[in-house]
Amino acid sequence: MIGKRKRDTSVVSKYKKGKKNEKEETREGSPAPAESSAQDIFRKFFEAQFEPLEVQGNGATERDFDSGSDHDSEELENLGSSESEWSGIEGEGDDENLSVEVVEYTAPSTKADALMDKRARKAFMTAKPPSFATDLGSTTDRAKKGADEDDDKDTETMNLKNDLALQRLLKESHLLDSASDLAPTGKNRHKALDLRMQELGAKKSLYHQKNMPSSMRKGIKARATSKEDKRRKEARENGIILEKPAPKTNHSSGRRERGVGGPSIGKFAGGTLNLSQRDIAQVQSARRGRGKSRGRGRGPGRGRGRR
């Protein structure tokens, strides 16, 4: 029994062939009467112990009966050498065991599924509220990537080109009239070029006017500040929070960079080192006690150098 059961579970196809083989033998009219009687004895014994057995209908194996004959011969050869005695017992047992149900269990999770699982898990099981935006479609994108790499290159260059065009359009669209073409011409082209130059690192705009009547420049500046003030005032009244005003760059606050090798104190002019009262006081105080002298560090005693 043990040997047979092993065959049942491990090699299903072989088992079927075995059954066919057995079937054929019975059809050919060579069933050993001794075997059947032995089977009857077994059955009677079994029925005495348990419930009566139903007689099996053998329809399942009959359908590939005719096609299986050539395989059967091979099968017989294979079996014949080593397992001749086992084949006999197997034949007996098979009639009963035809009812064995073969259950194929496949786990529902496949490998691709697991991969997606990992990415989706990463997106979902974070501390943030999930965006639900990570689609399953993106996995297929990744899988496809290897296949059409050539297409990718072409599309990549196209994308870059379009990207550049879009960037430029976004930056320079304020120059364009609604009706005009996307490629600027004339004055607008010069302005667009100027913008690009600035973006690439030009210090000043080409159109920055260097010399101008001072009253005009003052007027321009005053207008800009009044405009900004008005905007802020309106926002405050409406309860809108604006960005903080940009800090004014105060040149006087920083200490002026002095040349190397100059005197560390006083002012050298006309071949003489002039020391002011404060310089002298500073030197004296430094000699007395370093504790309260904040002169060296911050340098308030720079005399006339600082106003």
């Binding site: 699982d117 979902f124 501390a127 943030k128 509220p129 999930p130 309860g239 929070i241």
Partner: protein, 406 residues
């Protein structure tokens, strides 16, 4: 806003306790709540979780005063400003408020999280709260609280529709189911709400769409991970034929340890909060979220298959009620709409959702707090009779008092 000289709003009973206090804080009106469980012979007055919530309110606001009567059946709450958790003021290191929940707490941590979420956009500084202590239950509870996962996946994304989306985090550091008799747990949850606005956007949510995906989290604490897969298997068996895009993630953690109350051995710790549960979230094509939560009962005796099945059916039931918002998220949505700009926002909800007892209680309370009443009308869709109702809510335009002077 404690300077208002208006008389306190008088309310009775313990129902809708947290949202009353939240609306009191948001509108700046003093409330006087009386008859809090007056007829209970064993536990009259405020319950431990309600006291704990008052403590939480005190730590995220500045200048709020509360008086509780001897029996605990009367509470007077005078709200302060919602300051959030700026470093130094009531919060420990790094500006994180550490909120300890006592061991006798029967409510899940979402009981504290939901009202805190509603207050957080109107805070002055970001709100960062760490929930710890021997009473933190992260799973859903028999008392009707949702799990922390559902809060994160079904409630927090809703704020996106009001223009509130930055720097919101809900981190589950330790999981815990309810302990013995449904009391206590040893979880740990960190909540960060860093997006404060002056006024939430006006919301018009009228199209529920169709359900397009279902996600979920199965958690098991201190029990075998196979419970998770069993729950997931059954839930997917029910939901997969309806929505193919269904994924439930599994999270397994060991049981949390809390100090055991042993007098002889004070250092001893005990395991608490064993169990498992499932949280499912369905998202519609228009971004509406529906959630369902079931966890194993503290007494045990329910196989994970039943939990999975119950949860799946609960999700289907929630969806079948219709509308754009399930009843779990209704107070938050309406609360934010009420606090929004002076404009009419519209929200389509199922008839059962708005006809729910808690929703009606919420409406009555809001009216007491001075909000204009809701306008209700049938959702008139010609092609299909959904039976939904469109709730029109007028915002009060107060918004963030602490933010106004910024």
């Amino acid at each position: 806003m404690a300077t208002t000289s208006q008389p306190p709003i008088r309310l009775t009973s313990h129902k809708n306790f947290v949202y009353r206090l939240v609306f009191s804080t948001l509108t700046g009106r003093t409330v006087h709540i009386s008859q809090i469980r007056p007829s209970s012979p064993t536990n009259p007055g405020l319950a431990p979780h309600e006291i704990s919530f008052l403590r939480l309110l005190e730590s995220v606001t500045n200048g709020s005063q509360m008086e509780i009567s001897y029996t605990g059946t009367i509470l007077v709450y005078k709200p302060g400003l919602i300051t959030g958790s700026s470093a130094g003021a009531g919060s420990s290191s790094g500006g994180v408020v550490r909120h300890e929940i006592p061991a006798g707490c029967t409510r899940g941590v979402s009981y504290f999280l939901l009202p805190l979420c509603l207050m957080a956009p109107f805070s002055k500084a970001p709100i960062k709260v760490l929930f710890t202590g021997p009473g933190v239950i992260t799973s859903s509870t028999p008392t009707g609280d949702m799990s922390v996962d559902s809060v994160r996946t079904a409630i927090l994304p809703l704020f996106n529709q009001f223009g509130i989306f930055n720097n919101i985090e809900l981190r589950v550091l330790k999981r815990s189911n309810p302990g013995p008799n449904g009391r206590g747990g040893g979880g740990e949850v960190q909540f960060v709400f860093g997006h404060q606005v002056r006024l939430p956007k006006t919301l018009h949510l009228m199209n529920a769409g169709k359900i397009k995906r279902i996600r979920g989290v199965a958690y098991s604490v201190g029990v075998s991970a196979s419970n998770n897969s069993r729950m997931i298997d059954v839930a997917r068996g029910i939901l997969n034929p309806l929505v193919p895009d269904t994924y439930v993630f599994s999270d397994v953690s060991s049981a949390p340890l809390v100090p055991g109350g042993d007098r002889n051995n004070p250092l001893a710790k005990k395991k608490i909060g064993l169990g498992f549960g499932l949280s499912l979230v369905a998202e519609s094509s228009t971004g509406c979220l529906f959630s369902a939560d079931v966890a194993s009962p503290p007494s045990g005796g329910q196989p994970p298959e039943d939990i999975g099945k119950q949860c799946a059916y609960q999700l289907l039931e929630t969806i079948s009620k219709g509308g754009c918002v399930p009843s779990a998220a209704f107070p938050i949505m309406v609360g934010l709409m009420t606090m929004g700009s002076e404009d009419v926002g519209r929200l389509q909800v199922g008839r059962d959702v708005v006809g729910d007892e808690s929703a009606i209680q919420l409406a009555r309370d809001l009216v007491k707090f001075g909000a204009p009443g809701w306008g209700l009308r049938d959702a008139s869709s010609d092609e299909e009779k959904t039976g939904d109702i469109i709730v029109s809510v007028v915002g009060r335009g107060i918004g963030n008092v602490g933010r106004k002077v910024a």
